[in-house]
Structures are given as structure tokens and as C-alpha cells.
């Protein structure tokens, strides 16, 4: 047994996601990324003396919607607590968060792996809190705090609503961790509760990693990994940490419970602080905010608005329609495209061809013209017509391609074009025989070459017949007739 299969990794993920709301969590400042430093601030988000927070209703609704999408429980009561610690980019020197009565409890995230396996990861909770400002270290030190002579703080981000999703330790590999995060991302984007732009820091995550002998049910000592700035670095960091822990156990060592930072350049984790140095956050209920009584009717309304979710789509596309994992995922990752695809399937009853067109020619045209597919003049119904024409062998694929380009230019229904211009593929033997006769007469050399054994010349002759028929001839029939004539 090699060392990798000797151990099982046990991973839990804590994920911070900035919510997409009009205003910040506890004040009226706009919730927008970027801008000149300290221009999206007010007495409340700067924690000026005497200012008070007022909770953002839209953020609370986003949270409940997210919880419902994962089948979480929405308790009737919830409250905000203060998490106390000093940090220069945290204006109040405490963060308003939720400690023991989060807005959502439990729930399940369903996600799939590259081989199509459907997985489940239980959620512990999702709670609502506020983001901090951002520090920049200047005067030497290359942006690091060590060596810098002063620091600047931008509070534009301070007070942006943040949800923290805490998972149970149900994840067992780096691949699963990334797939889990992708599922979260897709779901939040589809719900409209977040843009989830990792490059803008609107999704940040930490991983709790431990290993145990395969088959064991006891948990090993965990480490918490921070500073992972992309899904790729999540993958690399977890792999590296699992390897590090296996090496320690294999050499008879002991894992120390600690927080470790991922170093993207060196590709390793470094110890940041041990359990003994852990903060005592002195949580207590925030006396500036009243407890939240969650209105059941509002929860029911939100429940009714939960859309058809990514994992449900995946089950349909992959299991029901038989699409491969990759194209199925590709569709799901672009919601307008998936919606377009769904409409096309509804009208054509042909998922495979719908997928081929949507991800193939239509996406190519969209790229070339910088117009999204769903905003193009090609309606899903027209595309379904086109698919119908191909399936019924009324037109061949070459004509279909040409038609699609004309539809993209706004020429409307392919059926109408085909009828008007008589483009329907012909399987009329007499008519095709006429073209075959003409082509054979005009290509005596080819005919003799064929008869001399160069049978691959058949392709050329077929092309000539198709050309003569202006593409309308049924190619299979053309070949059949050619072979018969050439004997």
C-alpha cells in the first residue's frame, strides 16, 4: 500500500463571500468595488464616535435565499454579535458578525467531479458579517508589512456585507475542495446574491485540513490554511498540506494544531500562529442591533423564488440528456447560455444537437461578433427549427451552417428561408442521377482513375455532384448512386 492510499484527508472549508447589495451592511454607502480610497465612507463605516449600525434588509434576504438553495434551516430568531479584536483596517476594532444564532443552519452543497460523480458536503452554517478595509504597506518592504515605514488604509470595503459559509469536514481531496467551491460560486451567481469575483476578493476561503489512516473514523489534528487567492491555489495548497502531514506522520512525527499561510511562489505553507496564540474574540450580542425575528411569510416567498439550481441542471444534462461532463458544466457555468439551451431543447427535443450548436457554431459567432448568444437574433425556437431540418435530413450540415450565419444576421426562420429558396435536400433519385451523369461526363479522368483503383477519388466526385445540386442533394444518396454508376 503506498502512502497516499494509506491515509484519507479530511477537509472543511470556510468561505467568505461578499454579497451583491446596493448599499453596505450597516450604512447607506454604496457597495461598489474600487474607487478612490476612502470615498465610499460615512460616519458609520468609519466608526466615528457616536455612529450606529442599521442592518441591511437586502443582505439578510440574500442570506436566507442562499440558505434555502442549500436546504438549510432558517431559524425564527437570529442576532448579531461583536467579534472583538484590534486591527487597523477594522474601524470599530470589533467586527459585527454572528456567533451562536446564525441566519442559516445546516444544509447540503451538492457538487460534481470531473468524472460526473455527484458529491455532497454538509454545511454547518452560513452567517452574515461585515468586511474590513484594506491596508497597503508603504515606504519599503515591497508591500509587505515587514520593512515598511508606514501603512495606508482604504475603508471603501469596510462594512461591505459578507457571508461566511462553514462546511462540515466532508471533503476528502483537493479536487473535491475546488469542485465544492465552484458549486458555491455557481449557486451564488445564479441566485444573484454575489458576483463572486475572486480577483476582486469577493470570494476568499480558508481550509481546515487533517489526515487519518484510511478507514478510520477518528479525526486527526487539523491545520487551518489561509492566503489562498484562487481556485488553483486552493488546489495546490491542499495537496501540499496533505503531503506535508503525511510526511510528518510517516516519519513518526506529530501534527501541530496551527494556522498556516499558503505561499504561492514557494508552493508551500508556513506556520502563522499556533493554537496557544489564538485570539479570544470575546463575542457578545451587539447591543446596538436588535435581534432579528425572521418573518415566516418572507421565508416562504423566498423559498418560492429559489431557481432551478446548478446541481439539478447537471443531473438533467448529464444523466437525463447524456451530455458529457465538460459541455454540461460549460453550459451551466454560463447561465444565459444554459437558459437558451433549455429553451432550444424544449422546442427541438434534441439535447445533443442543441448542445452542439450552442457551444459550437453559435458560441463561435458570438465570439466573432462580440454579441452574446442570448442577445443575438437567433431565437432558441429558430435554432430548434434548424435542428429539426437537419434531423429530418431536409438539409445537410453544410447548408445548416450557412443558414445559421444568415439567421445570425437577422434573416429569421430557417424553415421559411429553406422553403422560399428551395434549399431542401433532395432525395429524388432521378434528379440526383441527372447531376451524377453531368459530373461523370465532365470528369473523364477522374472516372478512369477511379476505375484504375484510386477509390478515394469518390470524395472529389461526391463534392462535384453536391456542388452541381447547389448543396441540396442528399450526400449519402449521391455516393450510393456514384458507386453504382462507376460499378
Amino acid at each position: 500500500m503506498n502512502t497516499l492510499t494509506k491515509y484519507e484527508a479530511v477537509i472543511g472549508i470556510e468561505c467568505h463571500v461578499e454579497l451583491k447589495t446596493r448599499t453596505k451592511m450597516f450604512c447607506g454607502c454604496l457597495n461598489e468595488f474600487g474607487g478612490e480610497p476612502n470615498t465610499k465612507v460615512c460616519p458609520v463605516c468609519l466608526a466615528l464616535p457616536g455612529s450606529l449600525p442599521v442592518a441591511n434588509k437586502e443582505a439578510i434576504e440574500h442570506m436566507i435565499l442562499a440558505g434555502l438553495a442549500f436546504d438549510a434551516q432558517i431559524p425564527a430568531f437570529s442576532k448579531f454579535d461583536r467579534k472583538n479584536y484590534f486591527y487597523p483596517d477594522m474601524p470599530k476594532d470589533y467586527q459585527i458578525s454572528q456567533y451562536d444564532m446564525p441566519l442559516t443552519q445546516g444544509g447540503v452543497v451538492r457538487y460534481w467531479l470531473e468524472d460526473g460523480t455527484m458529491k455532497e458536503c454538509r454545511l454547518t452554517r452560513i452567517h452574515l458579517e461585515e468586511d474590513t478595509g484594506k491596508s497597503t504597506h508603504a515606504g519599503g518592504g515591497d508591500g509587505r508589512i515587514a520593512g515598511s515605514t508606514y501603512s495606508l488604509v482604504d475603508f471603501n470595503r469596510a462594512g461591505v456585507p459578507l457571508m461566511e459559509c462553514v462546511s462540515e469536514p466532508d471533503i476528502h481531496s483537493a479536487e473535491e475542495a475546488v469542485a465544492y467551491l465552484e458549486a458555491l460560486k455557481r449557486t451564488f451567481v445564479q441566485l444573484g446574491v454575489s458576483d463572486v469575483k475572486m480577483e476582486e476578493g469577493s470570494l476568499r476561503c480558508d481550509a481546515n485540513v487533517s489526515i487519518r489512516p484510511a478507514g478510520s473514523t477518528q479525526l486527526g489534528t487539523k491545520t487551518e490554511i489561509k492566503n489562498m487567492n484562487s481556485f488553483r491555489s486552493v488546489h495546490r495548497a491542499i495537496e501540499s498540506e496533505i503531503e506535508r502531514q503525511i510526511e510528518i506522520l510517516e516519519s513518526g512525527g506529530r501534527i501541530v494544531q496551527e494556522t498556516r499561510g499558503w505561499d504561492e511562489n514557494e508552493g508551500v505553507t508556513h506556520s502563522m500562529r499556533s493554537k496557544e496564540q489564538a485570539h479570544d474574540y470575546r463575542y457578545f450580542p451587539d447591543p446596538d442591533l436588535v435581534p432579528l425575528e425572521v418573518d415566516r411569510a418572507a421565508v416562504e416567498r423566498l423559498k418560492a423564488s429559489v431557481p432551478f439550481l446548478p446541481w439539478q441542471r447537471f443531473e438533467r444534462y448529464h444523466r437525463e440528456y447524456g451530455l458529457d461532463v465538460k459541455p454540461a458544466t460549460q453550459l451551466i457555468d454560463s447561465l444565459p447560455l444554459a437558459d437558451y439551451f433549455d429553451k432550444c431543447v424544449a422546442a427541438s427535443n434534441n439535447p445533443q444537437q442543441s448542445m452542439n450548436f450552442v457551444l459550437g457554431d453559435l458560441s463561435r459567432l458570438a465570439n466573432e461578433t462580440a454579441t452574446p448568444v442570448h442577445e443575438s437574433p437567433v431565437t432558441p425556437e429558430h435554432l430548434a427549427e434548424l435542428i429539426g431540418l437537419v434531423s429530418a435530413k431536409t438539409i445537410n450540415s453544410k447548408i445548416a451552417k450557412e443558414l445559421l450565419e444568415r439567421m445570425w444576421r437577422g434573416e429569421g426562420s430557417p424553415k421559411v428561408i429553406v422553403e422560399k429558396e428551395g434549399l431542401a435536400q433532395t432525395s429524388d433519385t432521378g434528379e440526383i442521377e441527372k447531376f451524377v451523369g453531368e459530373v461523370l461526363a465532365a470528369n473523364e479522368k477522374a472516372v478512369s482513375d477511379y476505375k484504375a483503383g484510386k477509390t478515394n477519388i469518390l470524395g472529389f466526385l461526391t463534392g462535384q455532384v453536391m456542388k452541381a445540386s447547389r448543396g441540396k442533394a442528399n450526400p449519402a444518396l449521391v455516393q450510393e448512386l456514384l458507386k453504382a454508376k462507376l460499378g
Partner: protein, 485 residues
Amino acid sequence: MANDTIRMTAAQIARAVNAGEMSASDATGAALAHIDEVDDRVGSFLTRLHDLARAQAKRVDDRVRAGERLPLAGVPVAVKDNMCLTGTRTTCGSKILENWISPYTATAVQRIIDAGGIPVGKANMDEFAMGSSCENSALGVTRNPYDLRRVPGGSSGGSAAAVAAYEAAIGLGSDTGGSIREPGAFCNIIGFKPTYGRVSRYGLIAFASSLDQIGPLTRTVEDAALAYEAIAGHDPMDSTSIDRPVEPVSHALREDLKGLRIGIVKEFVTEKLGEEIDALYQQAYDELRDLGAELVEVSLPTADYGLATYYLIAPAECSSNLARFDGVRYGLRVDGDDVGQMYERTRAAGFGQEVKRRILIGTYALSSGYYDAYYVKAQKARTMFANDFKRAFERCDLIASPAASSPAFEFNAKSDPYSMYMMDYYTIPMSLAGLPALSVPCGWVSGMPMGLQLAAPLFEEANLLSAAHAYEQGTKHAQKVPVAL
């Protein structure tokens, strides 16, 4: 003339200004001149707002001339220095905010201005409202206008002294455990703390958020009612402010106490305060009866736990509320080698003894391992207080008690913190229960004024003020001008 003007009550000034008999500018001018005359001795104000006051008075005159009738037209107001007012220094009596200029205005202060009131100065206070004598101010000494060797009470000592010394007709104070009622009693005036949540805390620099409440200090109950009507009411900027209509009260104040049941708390034994004080309160209760009230004995079994409960909850909240004074964004900064040292040096230099003591107590009470034994237990005790009062109010309409344990004492008389904390023994239970309560002058001990505390069930401010008015008018204990002036 000027002397008569400064002695006018808020109601009288507003009436005269609205009737065109006097201008707001004249009323303000008289107050400012008087402040210049006496405040070097009394020390009510940390910042005098002469220019701002004159400009505001002019605006009020313009509004009155344009036909508006303003409930506080031309009334000089002393604002405790823990309330923000745009463009003015707001210090909380602390070195850490000594030079901080507020860029915004507290809701209560704005409502005073909207009602035609004239902020004439920012009043001294115990640092961050922690204290009962004003001696904890890091920025100035305020003296009791009735005896300059004595303290004015606290923490709203500056506002109380200003009103008692006729420097303002209304003082805005804040009360966390008695900080309006006790200085009111010490300075022979009305100190009124409305129900928790009645007045917005937006712009009030927090000491203990779940207890802090803004209220007026005035020379008459009618003025307290007028000020209360101006500042009370829901504010969308404060989640804890209550969305419930404020009953108008200033025009319907009663003259007797007939039909009222007033509870005397069995556990509040006044004998332990000394013979003279005990006799005074027995006399005050008799006066209540003489005015038509029925006295009933009620019980607050938890009364003795008030101080212990309060001194866990208030410091716990303050330890968190005062974290923001870190030298990063505003206020005092003392540089260090790194950010941690900067925090330490700034807070060491910026906060006084009492503030540090409470931050330490609160930090300890919230620490992991102690939280359940201290903070959680204190919150449970608080619920017991609320329930005790609920039961007591089944038997009575109001509760009467001393407002403070003694008359105003001399400077440096309370050497240990606990004896200072004891001053608020009678006011803290009402604070913990969020009840409206006030102190009204009830006589004199050793030449110094004493206050009677009246408390009512939640939201029954109208009843409370009305009864206090009847007592005030029926006894006239307050009618004595401060001799020190």
C-alpha cells in the same frame, strides 16, 4: 433685564420669542453674556459656542418672523460633550478626543436645533460618562453652583451646573446608571431619563449601548416635558430607537396626585443614609400623600444586586465600544515602533484611570471561560430586575425613592471607586430595566439640595412628568437661587 432674561424658563422664552416679545438673539445674547460672567467659576462648559449660537439665534428669528412657531424658540441649551455637533469639538471629557471635531450632528441635538433651541456650549462630563461627580473629566473642573467647593454630580455634571447657574434653560445629558438624575438632584433641578429607546442615540458617543439614554436637565418639569417632546421619537439611524408615538405632555401636566398609587420600595431603606436624609425622604413621601397619592409598599427583591449587575454589563459593553479609540483614524495618536505599540501608547496616554478600570473589568467579564459566569449571569439578573418592576407596577402607578445616596459632596471626598458607585444605588435598577425615571428637588440637607426619584413603567413618560409637575408645584422645594453666584 438681562438678569430677568436668564432666569426665564424654556417655556417662557419660547412663548416670548414666538409672540414677538423678545428675539431669539436677545435671549441668546443674555445667556452668552451670563456664561462669560460665571463660567470661569462654575466651569460648566468645555467649549463655548458663541458664534454658532448667535448664528442659530438669527436663523430662529428669521423663522419666527416668517411665521413659524417653534417649541424651543430661542432657548439656550447646554449640550453634554458626548453628543456630536457638526464643526464643534466633541471630547467626551477625554484626552483621547481632546481635539476631535465632529463632522456630523447627533439626532437629539439636531432635533433641539430644528425646534428652535440654541446650543450655547459643550458641557463638561466625567470621561466617557463614567463617574458620578464630574471629577473624572480629563479636561476641566465643574463646580456645584450651590457650593463651589462641591461637585455638581455626574456624569452629566456640566449640563446640570449650566442649568442650575442659569447659563442655559435646558441641558442635554445622558444617563447610563443615573448620570442625569444624580447631577439633577445635586444641582436642585429636574433630571429626566426617558424610557430606553425613546431618544435616538445616533451621535451620542457610546459608553454602554444597552443602557445609554439621552434626556433633559431643566429647572422646571414643564421645561423637561418640552425638551422631551422635541427630542423623543423614532430615528431610522438607531435600530434600538422605538417606533412608537410620543404622547404630548407639556400642555397637560396635572396639579395633584389624586388617584395615583405610588410605590415605596421596601428594600430601599433610607435609615442607612442617616437621620437627616431619612427624615427628608419620609417628609417627601408624606408630601406625595398630601397631594392625593395613595402610598403602597412594593418589593424589589433583586435591588441589592443592581450595582453588581450594572458593573458587569456596562463595563463589558464599554470595553468593546471604546476599542475604536485606537489612534488609527482620529483623536490622539502616540506613535510606536509598530501598530501594537501605537495602540498601547495611545490608549495609555489617552484614557484616564476610571475608563481603564472599566475597560479591564469588561474585557475580563467577556473573556472565554468567564463569559457565562459574569456577562451571561448579569444579563439574567437584568431580566429579573425587569420582572421585579413588572410585578411592582401591578400594585402601583409610579415608584418613589431617593435619587442619590447623599447630597453633593466636596471634591476628592470619594477616594475609592466603590463609594462613588454607591451614589447610583437607587438609579441603577431603573436603568437596568430601561424604565423612564426622573429626579425632582425635594428639600435640603446641610444647605445642599436633595432629589426625589420617580419612576414609571416603560413608555409612561406622560404620567411620570405629570406627577412630577404636581409634586414640584405642590412643594416648591427648588425655589432657591444658588448663593455661590
